[in-house]
């Protein structure tokens, strides 16, 4: 069987990623907080611009979480990847060889 801790992704970054993702979910789920007309942004009541603004915020949070939990760059020894990042080396038909 595999070693129990074959992933060396630090528990800290996994925890931070989880928190980042939770922020979006809580922000959308906490309806009483944003179910109100003010403060307005331009002509938009709070209820509406609050929800719309979460979309780009969620994109950023998800991307940060993705960076945190992504496979860390391969150590020098495993650099079968001659150029580019961890996935830039694939031939279209999947010839990643290690």
């Amino acid at each position: 069987m595999a070693q129990p801790h074959h992933r060396t992704r630090s528990p800290l970054s996994a925890a931070i990623a989880t928190v980042l993702l939770l922020i979006s979910v809580v922000g959308a789920f906490w309806v009483p907080f944003y179910n109100r007309p003010t403060p307005k942004l331009g002509d938009f009541p709070f209820f509406y611009w609050y929800q719309l603004i979460w979309m780009p915020v969620t994109m950023v949070l998800c991307y940060l979480a993705f960076l945190l939990i992504r496979r860390p760059p391969e150590p020098a020894g495993a650099a079968a990847a001659p150029a580019g990042g961890p996935d830039a080396t694939l031939s279209p038909d999947g010839g990643e060889t290690k």
Binding site: M1, A2, Q3, H6, R7, T8, R9, T18, L20, L21, L22, S24, V25, G27, A28, F29, W30, V31, P32, N35, R36, P37, G42, D43, F44, P45, F47, Y48, Q51, L52, W54, M55, P56, T58, M59, V60, L61, C62, Y63, A65, F66, I69, R70, R71, P72, E74, P75, A78, P86, D87, L90, S91, D93, G94, G95, E96, T97, K98
Partner: protein, 550 residues
């Protein structure tokens, strides 16, 4: 609405013909050596990168019915319709957590459907058949509603009294889906999404200038929502939620977010991705479509602020689903209105095609093969799936043409409740084997029965004694989404029955998966499913994620 607008109609027709050509040409796109394999026909060769997957999932998840129904809900009730926004804020962070594991295990074992995974994980065909049946039942009315979306456009185009355009559209769709499989909607999604983005950006910039600005739109919509609904004796709605409906709003959003990636068509889109990172990267890019959805929801208020639309909706039998097509008709020159209609029609074709493929995959793999022909060859499987994809679409067409539209809408409402009940078996299964297979079956059945009865007992507002009137019902003092109540019941029963079965030492089924396979990151196209032992050994390699399987 009785005379045909020829300019709009011509634009829709031309774009439809273009899409048809693309659909048939897709059979040659990224051509496989052998298309008669379910990996090829049903999952596009599992070779879609970040870019294609983004268009495919966007075109798949944001359906034409959404584009019609969400603004219709906003038009009819106001703030309540915006649960769709809250839902699409939550969905991608939630899915980002478990989708990569589902993708990895499916790639390692060659699973084509979520029920394939459940059978492999729990060694229980009973459970996998339950998951497959739920998926098919939830998908069929969803396909029918795509047709309802097309119908709304046809009515405004002046073709409402005639079923022939709808039948032709679906025959054409069935033909290229049968020929090209998932490649057809994947390629057409590029056109669909481009049309939708252009349509929404123009609408959101241009229409407010015609209506005197956003301030005027909100205040006029607010005034009309305050008017008394003769059916209920209460206002139609409001720009804000009543404090009593905040629970309903939040639970609808959460329940829908948990359910979305349980739908077979969503999982088909996931499994077609080339690499694990494609999934994760997409979850941070897909909210861009949610912005579009938010803007489309606002079209409901614009429609409410346009007197001609209000008159048109009333003339159409108080059918709020006409509000967006009518808004285009009244605000845009005919040629651009035609462009917007085409976005909706093509927007219906992409998900309808993927849904029929997903339902066909489920039927073929988890009902036909598991129960009748376990030794079906890949070519045989593909032929069965092609036939089923046709039957599923034909069934949806009959549904829409022969039965009252409310029937499809009720079933779609039920479908949302049902599909969430597959969440414990699929998602919990990605992390733990603690749940007993039969406990999951019993819990699933209990939740399905409860959810169905609860939905049946819920009357429409102002019509006591009617059925399937709303997706929310009072549970323990709060009005909440029925799917969430059923989901809690599902989990509780699963836990209790598992404890009982463990105490009685009821045997578990065999588990063909290995822990590190859930993190596997194989590159490129799969060949054959890799024997479990080989991948287990490979998992001990590097310090980071296990090395690619290939």
């Amino acid at each position: 609405m009785t005379h045909i607008n020829w300019v709009s109609f011509t634009i829709v027709l031309v774009l439809f013909i273009v899409v048809t050509g693309v659909g048939f040409a897709a059979a040659r796109w990224r051509r496989a050596e052998d298309l008669m394999h379910l990996d090829e026909w049903g999952l596009g060769g599992r070779g879609f990168g970040t870019f294609i997957t983004w268009f495919l999932l966007g075109g798949d998840l944001y359906t034409a019915y959404t584009f019609i129904a969400v603004p219709a809900l906003v038009y009819g009730t106001g703030a309540g319709g915006f649960y769709a926004l809250s839902y699409t804020i939550m969905v991608f962070p939630i899915v980002l957590v478990f989708a990569p594991r589902l993708w990895s295990i499916a790639r390692v074992h060659g699973y084509i459907t979520p029920a394939d995974f459940v059978r492999g994980r729990y060694g229980s065909r009973g459970l996998s058949v339950a998951i497959a049946v739920t998926g098919i039942l939830a998908t069929m009315p969803y396909i029918a509603l795509q047709l309802v979306g097309i119908q709304a456009v046809l009515i405004v185009l002046g073709l409402g009294g005639n079923d022939v355009p709808l039948i032709i559209a679906f025959l054409v769709l069935a033909a290229y889906t049968l020929l090209a499989g998932l490649r057809a909607p994947a390629l057409i999604a590029f056109i669909k999404d481009t049309l939708v983005y252009v349509m929404v950006i123009v609408a959101i910039i241009y229409i407010p200038t015609r209506l005197g600005g956003w301030g005027h739109i909100f205040s006029t919509a607010g005034t009309h929502l305050k008017a008394t609904n003769p059916k209920t004796g209460k206002p139609f709605g409001s720009l804000y939620l009543s404090s009593a409906s905040e629970w309903a709003f939040a639970s609808l959003a959460l329940g829908s977010a948990l359910a979305l990636f349980m739908y077979p068509h969503a999982i088909t889109g996931l499994f077609a991705a080339k690499r694990r990172d494609v999934i994760r990267r997409n979850m941070s890019m897909l909210p861009l479509y949610s912005i579009v959805l938010g803007l489309i929801a606002l079209l409901g208020y614009m429609a409410l602020a346009t007197p001609a639309v209000r008159a048109g909706v009333k003339a159409g039998g108080s059918n709020a689903q006409l509000s967006v097509p009518l808004l285009f008709e009244n605000m845009f020159p005919s040629w651009f209105a035609g462009f917007g209609y085409a976005a909706i029609v093509i927007g219906a074709l992409v998900p309808a095609s993927i849904m029929s493929i997903a339902a066909a995959n489920l039927f073929t793999r988890n009902i036909y093969m598991d129960l009748f022909r376990r030794d079906a060859s890949p070519a045989h499987q593909t032929r069965v799936a092609q036939l089923i994809s046709f039957i599923v679409k034909a069934g949806a067409l009959v549904f829409v043409l022969a039965l009252p539209k409310t029937f499809s809408i009720n079933l779609q409402l039920l479908g949302g409740i049902w599909i969430l009940q597959t969440f414990p078996a699929i998602v919990a299964g990605l992390y733990t084997r603690w749940f007993h297979r039969w406990a999951l079956v019993i819990a699933w059945a209990a939740a399905m029965v409860y959810g169905t009865i609860q939905a049946w007992r819920t009357p429409a507002p102002g019509q006591p004694g009617s059925h399937f009137g709303a997706s929310t019902a009072p549970v323990f003092g709060h009005v909440i989404y029925i799917a969430i109540a059923a989901f809690v019941l599902n989990l509780a029963v699963a836990i209790i029955v598992t404890l009982i079965f463990r105490a009685l030492r009821v045997p578990d089924g065999p588990d063909e998966t290995q822990p590190q396979q859930y993190l596997a990151n194989p590159a490129g196209r799969p060949t054959m499913p890799v024997p479990a032992a080989a991948t287990a050994a490979a998992g001990t390699g590097t310090g980071a994620e296990p090395p690619p399987i290939s």
